[in-house]
Assembly symmetry: C2
Homo-oligomer: 197 residues x 2
Amino acid sequence: MFENFKIYLIEKAGLTEEEFNQLSPTLQTKVVSKGDFLLKQGEICQHSFFVEKGLLRSYSIDLTGKEHIIQFAPQNWFISDRSSVYFNEPSDFFMEAIEETSVVILNKNFITLASEINPSFGQYNEVLLQNHIRQLQKRVNQLLGASAEMRYLNFIQLYPDLTLRVPQWMIASYLGITPESLSRVRKELASKNFKSK
Amino acid sequence: MFENFKIYLIEKAGLTEEEFNQLSPTLQTKVVSKGDFLLKQGEICQHSFFVEKGLLRSYSIDLTGKEHIIQFAPQNWFISDRSSVYFNEPSDFFMEAIEETSVVILNKNFITLASEINPSFGQYNEVLLQNHIRQLQKRVNQLLGASAEMRYLNFIQLYPDLTLRVPQWMIASYLGITPESLSRVRKELASKNFKSK
DNA sequence: TTCATTTCTTATCCTACATCAATGCGTTAT
DNA sequence: ATAACGCATTGATGTAGGATAAGAAATGAA
């Protein structure tokens, strides 16, 4: 039920099995079918989710009705709208299952509780937070400075597994370009590789 | 010397004067002349800085040699490269004074120390962190979805004071457009306002 | 199997913004 | 004063990527 989550916490956050068992009563799980939502724009996000299996995406919809993918969350990733949780504000984002996905639901005080039980969890959580910031920073930097092609190359290098699993129009949305443009970029890249051999 | 910083911590983070005095021996200050650097790309960032007075910017330089402004830091702002500090990695960024600026220098363990002295500091630090994430998230979202004009309008609404104080080419760099484009956007906006009266 | 739906590609045209170049105008330095 | 520099504006031209449309390929459903 929480198998991956358990293994994950023990390996990464340094919990013991007993400590995990103390926490597990506060956990719930849920299976989300492809296309179903864990959060919608305007709702206040109440939880963090850990992906046991499957694949989620979070995205916003802008004034002109266009989707922009903020994040993908494959197996063993956490996903949430931290700001919405923390400040109790309506979220700007949707969270939707790309494949049938089973998640572990962590309520607001899980982190506090786990940190009390074992401070090394608190430290690990800090690492996740700092990583999150780093990743956002990099993304801003890329959006400011890199061409569609460079962003795509970066993406496939960073998330090679996702590149295969996710429809291209979603990758385009993550990169901030249209599916047609991505198709052109790919064609262009293919011809370059061909020539260079 | 630390006047603003002291007031700031007492007001915002809930420290007492005595608590602040316990911390102050670990602090240093520095005056940075216009155009001088607190950090350069490739260095490992060792500190956080609090702007007592003046104005800083952080920016990166991309492969093609172009600058991209990541953040402005006016009076009473903290600035740092959290990732570089936390992970002990070389920074991607420069930190430079736009005006003559005096900063308070916080070394790596200041936060821990202050949180031990008064836990409410720890909480306040958490708020800053969460705000930082929220702001980065918004920026990604805008870069993905909004036109130059919308981004500019957003900027002047969010940082009206900076709009006056900072040269336009820096605002352009923050927005991810050229100074020429920003000039055109402004012209366009001016004519719209004129017509609408 | 066949029909329908979603995804990907390709082609054409279009637009927001970049690039390049010239001009003017404050500010600082001599 | 005047030279020199940084900054903003304007105009002319270029280009990456958007919009639209249509067809091919893949997926899925009956």
